[in-house]
Symmetry: C2
Subunit: 324 residues, 2 copies
């Protein structure tokens, strides 16, 4: 059971003020062609233009802001290899403390350089997320560093939920919001914020059908683990829903929508060529959901969260190459 | 000789008010990584987010707004095959009049569809710009349509010059502006606006070195025609400077900078992956100029005009494919 008192309006407002002047207030964009294709008023909440190019900065910065000064001064650690790693690295640099990031031994040079560019100390260990998590947890203990997990902490959800509280001010008449879901930090935060600020808002998660741990788990009513998540949407390769977000999402969400890999590529290319929005595959999944499941949203006021924009050139080349 | 009284502050202010609520006030973006690479404070004026995806809407709409009602009601015509065609088509639809666009017989289906999508009548004729211009001029005469040329009219320059008057309000301490130059409508308008509003501003044109009609003409002090302009920047394939913009630019501009094809591709890819800005090749030329000629702009406050964002998937695939 979720203790909803932890996700009251005051908690989100506290997160908003901690982020004020630190995180960007990201713009809302629209594109007539895409609204027409989706048959609804389709707005894009551009977290691709957030610091580090993804919403992840909100949760990481907010969590660091809640730490006692002595605890924060000892430093923080995380084990993500993607946007969360950069978010923790940048947030730590804002607080002039150090971040240790455990990355896989086969991490790309680009990602290593980007994370190092934010001033983090990088340790490469193992190849699977599990190996990294175990290693990082031991290291946190040994070096007395605070773990900043990608989604397994309520403060992370509060930070990510500010995407919605901000969006509701920008789009006061919003009826539907579509949210990419990997581990569930963003979807959980948005569900909790919707409950606090706008219970009538319809929240949907969207995920790749080849990484449908959320859809299956929701259908089963409990957390299920899938065997593989071989999707182009590298931020959504979770094998199971997070234990903190799952019960929140379960109670609030109207559904988890599946999209296939071509849907994701097509949404990315349409965002680029029509809306001039640079979305990474994980960030375009919400728009894919609006297009594929258009019948559900006909004539309504819909926002798709563009959760990030950090895309590799090879992925750009792939999605731009016909046929689509 | 240019009659500068036509390009006084009052004329630009008139164009600004005609465009108010019609053209978008486009945002200014920045990206720390690109500023660091260029060694200056590098801002992007995002005309890729203008209506029809390019600055061209400003000039076309403003020119149409100056026509007598009866003249406008008879309809307008142009012979561009690119962004100007869509700009004229959309502007005409705003005034509920018709636009005839003469496009080449080998125009891509995508471009035909986009222009038709704005409600224009399309006639396909010939293969070269000259053939289209002659045909369109005869047709204008025959059907009593008003020609809206891409850059050979002072009203077009006034409209395009509002990019700068708007930018100066957004960036009051700007020192340098870099402008892609093809026919010269945008550069001419910006030079004239700089003269009227901020004579100390340093205006530079930037063009592909394989389409360096402006650089050569400036060096010669008179309009020269080049033989070919085989550049990826399809909006900058002019073979000679426009007769209306040339004398204006000649008097005001600090220089025309050349960039090569790889510089353009690299700037486009950096804009996409780092700044999350979708620029077409012509629109990225200004950023290529800032990077290649960085020594000239060290530590200064520089704006690069991202003139448009209409990029074909094949071009995206090309620029994203290594090595760059």
């Amino acid at each position: 059971m979720t203790d909803w008192s932890f996700y009251g309006r005051d908690r989100f407002e506290e997160a908003r003020s901690a982020l004020e002047g630190k995180a960007h207030v990201t713009p809302v964009a629209r594109c007539r062609a895409l609204s027409e294709m989706a048959g609804c008023d389709l707005a894009f909440k551009c977290e691709n233009l957030q610091r580090v190019g993804a919403f992840k900065f909100r949760g990481a910065f907010y969590m660091l802001s809640t730490l006692a000064e002595a605890e924060r001064a000892r430093g923080v650690i995380t084990y993500s290899s993607g946007n969360h790693a950069q978010a923790v690295a940048l947030a730590a640099s804002f607080f002039k403390t150090r971040a240790v990031i455990v990355m896989p031994e086969d991490a790309s040079g680009v990602k290593l350089a980007a994370t190092r560019g934010y001033g983090a100390e990088i340790l490469q260990h193992g190849f699977t997320p599990q190996e990294r998590q175990v290693f990082a947890t031991h290291l946190a203990d040994e070096r007395r560093l605070t773990m900043v997990p990608p989604y397994e902490d309520p403060r992370i959800l509060l930070g990510q939920g500010t995407v919605l509280t901000e969006l509701l001010e920008q789009e006061p008449t919003l009826e539907v919001v579509l949210v990419p879901v990997g581990g569930g930090g963003l979807l959980g935060g948005i569900c909790a914020a919707a409950r606090a600020f706008r219970p009538a808002l319809e929240v949907y998660g969207v995920e790749p059908e080849v990484a449908d741990d959320w859809a299956r788990s929701m259908e089963a009513g409990r957390i299920l683990r899938i065997r593989s998540a071989n999707t182009i949407a590298d931020g959504l390769r979770s094998l199971e829903p997070g234990a903190i977000p799952f019960p929140i999402v379960k109670e609030i969400v109207r559904g988890i929508l599946r999209v296939n890999e071509d849907d994701i590529r097509r949404a990315m290319l349409l965002l680029l060529t029509r809306a001039k929005v640079v979305a990474e595959p994980s960030g375009a999944v919400s728009v894919a959901g609006a297009l594929v499941h258009a019948a559900r949203f006909r004539h309504r006021r819909v926002a798709a969260i563009i959760s990030g924009g950090n895309v590799e050139p090879a992925t750009l080349a792939e999605i731009a190459t016909p046929p689509h």
